[in-house]
């Protein structure tokens, strides 16, 4: 990456540096997030500066011992199991990533994955959603990062496979909606990982939803509960 070459670049680099240090004002943060959506150079710069900041954190090493796991575990795993994910405030760095995804327009979606590019139809579906005010994209995180997305619009949800392997003949994927209160609700099942599923009506309004998830199920069944959850993502705020 090259250094800043124009006053424009330098202004954004200054904001990125301050952002990586959690030191910029809210109005500057908003400007930067909007700019990041269309500027690959600044996203790369921010990634660099975030890494630098984390290395500064290494200087905080000292004699202090962290609380033992047994002390804090009950406040994490026993109070909030994975199946009752609550809507949360995204950390700012994640909000930046989300902004990059949701604000990118014109099919230039910067959707970085570690396992290669997503298929054009998937990108097109997500890009189209990002340009529609009433449409939301939910990224589902699996073992290797984001493996699928759910497009939520007009009370319907469509699953967009991004990096899901084709299931064996005996298996299928299932899409679940996790309501704010209650158990996961089955929405749809699918085996074709090459295209988005047809929109399925949501079981409860998206405002009452905490997350979406994908599980692996025996083919040809309508499961009552998820067997093996392989990906999950928080519902749009």
């Amino acid at each position: 990456m090259t250094g800043p070459t124009t006053p424009h670049d330098e202004m954004w680099d200054e904001l990125a540096a301050g952002y990586a240090l959690d030191a910029i004002e809210p109005e500057d943060e908003a400007r930067l997030l909007e700019h990041l959506a269309g500027c690959a150079h600044c996203r790369a710069t921010l990634d660099d500066f975030t890494l630098v900041a984390s290395q500064l954190g290494s200087l905080a090493n000292g004699e202090e011992e962290p609380p033992p796991w047994q002390q804090i575990a009950p406040r994490i795993t026993r109070v909030t199991p994975i199946t009752s994910i609550r809507r949360r405030r995204q950390p700012r760095i994640l909000a930046a990533a989300a902004a990059v995804v949701l604000l990118a327009a014109g099919g230039v979606l910067a959707w970085h994955y570690t396992h290669g590019a997503t298929s054009p139809p998937a990108q097109a579906a997500i890009a189209a959603c990002s340009q529609h005010p009433g449409c939301s994209v939910v990224r589902l995180h699996g073992s290797s990062g984001v493996v699928a997305a759910v497009i939520v619009q007009d009370g319907r949800a469509s699953l967009v496979p991004l990096h899901l392997a084709s299931p064996s003949a005996a298996r299928a994927y299932a899409l679940w909606q996790l309501p704010r209160d209650g158990s996961p609700i089955f929405l749809d099942t699918f085996r074709d990982t090459g295209r988005a599923t047809p929109p399925s009506p949501l079981a409860v309004p998206v405002a009452d939803t905490t997350a979406f998830a994908v599980s692996v199920e025996p083919a040809g069944t309508r499961p009552e509960r998820p067997s093996t959850v392989i990906a999950v993502g928080p519902a749009p705020a």
Binding site: L21, D47, L56, G57, N61, W69, I72
Partner: protein, 204 residues
């Protein structure tokens, strides 16, 4: 992070029988508590010590660490496009610690003077830390010391002091634009100095 030898820009690869970071994150995604505990044992100490340094309060630092790993447990928000797990956790810990500091305005130190900055630079890894972490911290410390004093000051006030750039301008009497430009220069110099270290990061 201090207690793990290979925490760095890429996911850490471990000896046979030890789950690497990516495997642990995958486990957490499906509710594997042991995976969460393993990541805590690996990186919880670094997050805690960073929060202690910023907040100067063990209870608040513990709350921050809990929030960090709760976020990971609740669906994370982490994916590989965000960089290494260690970098992501440290970023979240810093952000939450600064948030806590700003909420606890009455508790915050009004000014980190030169002596305190020196102390930050002088603190080294604890005896339990691994060799690579010690080396990395030492290199970071040297890189920090290579900065002009005026750049180092604004950087440390922001990162460890939790001050916004406008607050730093107010307390130092510098124009806000100068604070911003010094911060950028400091980050660029550190990036150049530390990039070589990143390239040397061990993979096992």
């Amino acid at each position: 992070m201090g207690e793990h030898p290979g925490s760095g820009p890429g996911d850490v690869v471990h000896a046979a029988g030890v789950r690497d970071d990516a495997e642990l994150v995958a486990g957490i995604a499906v509710g594997d508590e042991a995976a969460l505990e393993a990541l805590y044992q690996r990186y919880g100490g670094g997050c805690y010590r960073l929060a202690r340094r910023i907040l100067d309060d063990p209870q608040l630092a513990e709350d921050v660490v809990q929030q960090v790993f709760l976020a990971l447990w609740q669906g994370g928000g982490y994916d590989r496009s965000r960089g290494a797990v260690s970098t992501w956790l440290m970023s979240i810990a810093h952000h939450k610690a600064v948030d806590a500091l700003r909420r606890e305005a009455g508790r915050r130190k009004r000014l980190i003077d030169d002596q305190q900055l020196v102390e930050i630079e002088a603190v080294g890894p604890g005896p339990a830390d691994q060799a690579w972490a010690q080396l990395r911290a030492e290199r970071t410390r040297l890189a920090l010391r290579s900065l002009p004093a005026e750049q180092r000051e604004v950087l440390l006030l922001a990162y460890y002091g939790g001050y916004t750039q406008r607050e730093i301008a107010d307390m130092t009497g510098l124009p806000l634009g100068t604070v911003k430009s010094r911060t950028l220069q400091a980050m660029q110099r550190l990036r150049a100095r530390l990039r070589a270290d990143v390239d040397e990061e061990p993979t096992q």
